[in-house]
């Protein structure tokens, strides 16, 4: 159920470096405008058969053949072009990169027309209209529709139109989830106030839950378009012509009726739209230049910094407490500190986070994602900090403690005033190490519905397809968080050294 985020993280990473790998597994590799298609005698269309019915999926009668409304549409288009349709399999996430690389001529697989995507590719005129459904708790009375969501917490999936709608509204506290089950779960137990997702998902996961209900009518129509390479302008025009013809002759309607997909919303297809309408209005603010993404990325970076800094603060304080307990505590307590350190170092952070966020509600303790992230990371890193402090303290010559004691200072005061300042200087590079590692480890908290920098990147990249640009910016942001820390630490070090 969490596969989505991991899938995306991994996929995006892989995109950077293994662009060429997948070409072995795909079935075509030529760059071809309209003429080439005719010459070749077939149009290569990219789609992910794993996406399922009714788009494209294996024919139960003959699993080696694919069927679906998009298959029918592809065949109709091919026929109009006077060629054959040839399906090219690609993971959904990589359809557009594959198109851009020339693995296929067009990509058609429930791809929404968004301005971000239009930065990179052309879209045909839309061929289908789909809708979104809001779900709330049964007893909810305040939220009657999407307009009542201002100031509320609303869950959705990353990279979806629903997310764009919510973010485009402004004032909505959008929670991005990795899977389809969790938002409805969190809605049911009250962690969020509503969930906006595609109607089929809402129907499947939201409707059957006795604690939930639909709010308002389906809305936020989106448009599916066929993706075409930027340079293949003539192909786009040709395909627009064909869709137009299929609409006029009623063949398109026949296909949708065959697949039981026809509804009133589809009438919009006949309007003389250019493909920019639909929820696109909601997205006006997001236009081409990269800097428009900065606010989002910087917000993500802000969450990363917030989580890292607060949990580091917890780790530093709790770690100090553990060290002091271990070194100067009385009998059973110092051993408890040792046990804490060994156990927290010895178990994976992921398990610790899971227990906190998903385990504790079972015994009635329900934490907010931020609180769980803060406590989870902080308690884990405290164990590591404790060892670093201990190393620092052990490196202070024992004459220092003796001098403090024989001045009549208590052990506690000597530790505080004499030992720790010297130990801190020694431990500083290690603490910096951990702080930087924490910046990266904090991306694990995205499994508990926190949207930090890595997650923001995934979301933006998935919806804009500007993997490389955004990836570079994200990398720079991460580096921009850790490097000042390094510099700061180095300055602090120098200052302390001079004072030694």
């Amino acid at each position: 159920m969490f596969k989505k985020i991991f899938n995306k993280v991994i996929f995006i990473l892989s995109l950077f470096f293994i662009v060429n790998l997948s070409s072995n597994a795909s079935f075509c590799a030529e760059i071809s405008p309209l003429d080439k298609i005719k010459e070749r005698g077939s149009i290569m269309w990219g789609a992910d058969a794993e996406g399922g019915a009714p788009y494209i999926f294996p024919d139960p009668k003959d699993p080696e053949k694919f069927i679906g409304f998009e298959v029918d549409l592809a065949e109709a288009i091919a026929r109009e072009l006077g060629v054959k349709a040839k399906h090219v399999q690609n993971a959904w996430d990589s359809l557009i990169p594959a198109l851009e690389r020339g693995d296929c001529d067009i990509a058609m697989n429930g791809i929404e027309i968004t301005p971000q995507r239009k930065e990179h590719i052309l879209f045909s005129r839309p061929y289908y209209v789909y809708v979104e459904q809001l779900v709330v708790r049964k007893e909810e009375t305040a939220i009657k529709g999407i307009d009542d969501l201002k100031g509320k917490k609303v869950g959705t999936l990353s990279g979806t139109v629903a997310q764009n709608i919510l973010e485009g509204m402004g004032g909505v506290d959008v929670k991005i989830y990795p899977g389809q089950v969790e938002p409805y779960e969190d809605l049911a137990i009250g962690r969020i106030d509503g969930v906006l997702l595609d109607l089929p998902i809402a129907a499947y996961y939201g409707k059957p839950n006795p604690k939930l209900k639909y709010a308002g009518n389906p809305m936020g129509e989106g448009l599916y378009g066929i993706a075409i390479r930027k340079e293949d302008e003539n192909l786009k025009n040709k395909i627009d012509e064909i869709i137009d013809k299929l609409l006029r002759t009623g063949e398109l309607k026949k296909i949708y009726e065959k697949w039981d997909l026809w509804n009133a919303a589809q009438e919009k297809l006949f309007e003389n739209i250019q493909g920019e309408r639909g929820y696109v209005d909601l997205e006006k603010s997001k236009s081409a230049p990269v800097y428009t993404f900065f606010p989002y990325l910087i917000k993500g970076a802000g969450v990363t910094i917030l989580i890292s800094v607060t949990s580091m603060a917890l780790a530093i304080i709790l770690g100090l407490f553990l060290t002091l307990l271990r070194l100067y505590g009385r009998k059973p307590f110092n051993n408890l500190a040792v046990a804490y350190i060994e156990i927290y170092r010895g178990t994976p952070l992921l398990i610790q986070l899971f227990i906190l966020y998903y385990g504790l509600p079972n015994i009635g303790i329900s934490m907010s994602p931020f609180l769980a992230a803060f406590i989870g990371l902080g308690m884990n890193y405290a164990a590591y900090e404790a060892e670093l402090y201990r190393a620092g303290i052990m490196a202070v010559p024992k004459g220092q403690m003796e001098a403090g004691l024989s001045l009549g200072m208590s052990q506690g005061l000597t530790v505080q005033r004499i030992i720790l300042p010297q130990a801190f200087r020694i431990a500083l590079p290690g603490i910096t190490n951990d702080f930087i590692a924490l910046f990266k480890d904090s991306s694990l908290v995205s499994i508990i519905a926190m949207v930090e920098l890595t997650k923001t990147y995934n979301i933006l990249a998935a919806s804009t397809l500007r993997f490389f640009e955004l990836g570079l910016i994200t990398a720079v942001l991460y580096f921009g968080m850790s490097y000042p820390l390094s510099l700061l630490a180095r300055r602090l070090e120098n200052k302390l050294k001079r004072k030694k």
């Binding site: 001098a403 200072m409 030694k500």
Partner: protein, 251 residues
């Protein structure tokens, strides 16, 4: 003031003290002399509880230290040591200055934090003492920027600033030129006049003779002789003392 009774102390397999005893009265100035490695520093460290001992008793102004269990001392043990240390100041052979603090901070740290003296008052006291021993221009230096003799003087002032009733000096003038030794001596003499009990380990015989009311001679972890300075230096009873002093004084 200080009573040491039947003190036994071993370092691993080195059985250093095999039961030594000593009584020191309030206001007395006692000089400890003896060859290097004879146990003088260890003796001082046992008195203020820095060194654990296997057997015996140390009583300082009525507070008793028994063979302290260093591994797991009780609350009372710790309290007793703490009380003794408030009465007893110590100047270490290796100085042990705090490297992260300036000279002034080194000196006022304990008076301010432990005795609760006002910071300004403490600084003034410190500056007065520093002036006497010619260090007023180093107040804001860190210890590593000081010469050996300067460090030693700071260590002395740091201990004196706590105005203890007993002072333990472990070779307080080893890095000082004779001129400065005189200066330090006069500082100590003033304190003695105010009734401070003083224990000094020293290798300077003339210094020991001049300042002390009594001389204690150590050898191989044993007190081989105690007596008035004039007696010890002119007419030692024990052969070993004679030998030690003859080699020393013929210079």
């Amino acid at each position: 003031m200080i009573t040491v009774k039947d003190l036994h102390k071993s370092y691993n397999d080195l059985h250093l003290f095999k039961g030594i005893s000593l009584n020191i009265k309030k206001g007395e100035v006692v000089a400890f002399i003896g060859p290097s490695g004879s146990g003088k520093s260890t003796f001082l460290r046992c008195i203020n509880g820095l060194e654990y001992f296997q057997k015996g008793e140390v009583v300082v102004d009525g507070i008793e230290l028994h063979s302290i269990n260093r591994i797991d001392p009780t609350k009372e043990d710790l309290e007793a040591i703490r009380k003794i240390r408030l009465k007893v100041g110590m100047v270490f052979q290796q100085f042990n200055l705090f490297p992260h603090m300036t000279v002034l901070e080194n000196i006022i740290e304990a008076p301010v934090r432990v005795l609760g003296i006002d910071k300004n008052t403490a600084s003034e006291n410190a500056l007065a003492l520093l002036r006497r021993i010619n260090l007023e221009n180093k107040v804001n230096c860190h210890p590593e920027d000081l010469s050996g003799g300067e460090q030693q003087r700071v260590a002395i002032v740091r201990a004196l600033a706590m105005k203890p009733e007993v002072m333990l000096f472990d070779e307080p003038t080893s890095s000082l030129d004779p001129e400065m030794v005189g200066e330090v001596l006069s500082v100590i003499k003033d304190l003695v006049d105010e009734g401070m009990t003083t224990l000094i380990v020293t290798h300077l015989m003339h210094f020991a003779r001049e300042i002390s009311d009594r001389v204690v001679v150590f050898d191989k972890g044993d007190i081989i002789e105690t007596g008035l300075p004039d007696e010890i230096f002119t007419n030692p009873k024990i052969g070993r003392t004679k030998l030690f002093l003859s080699r020393v004084l013929n210079k």
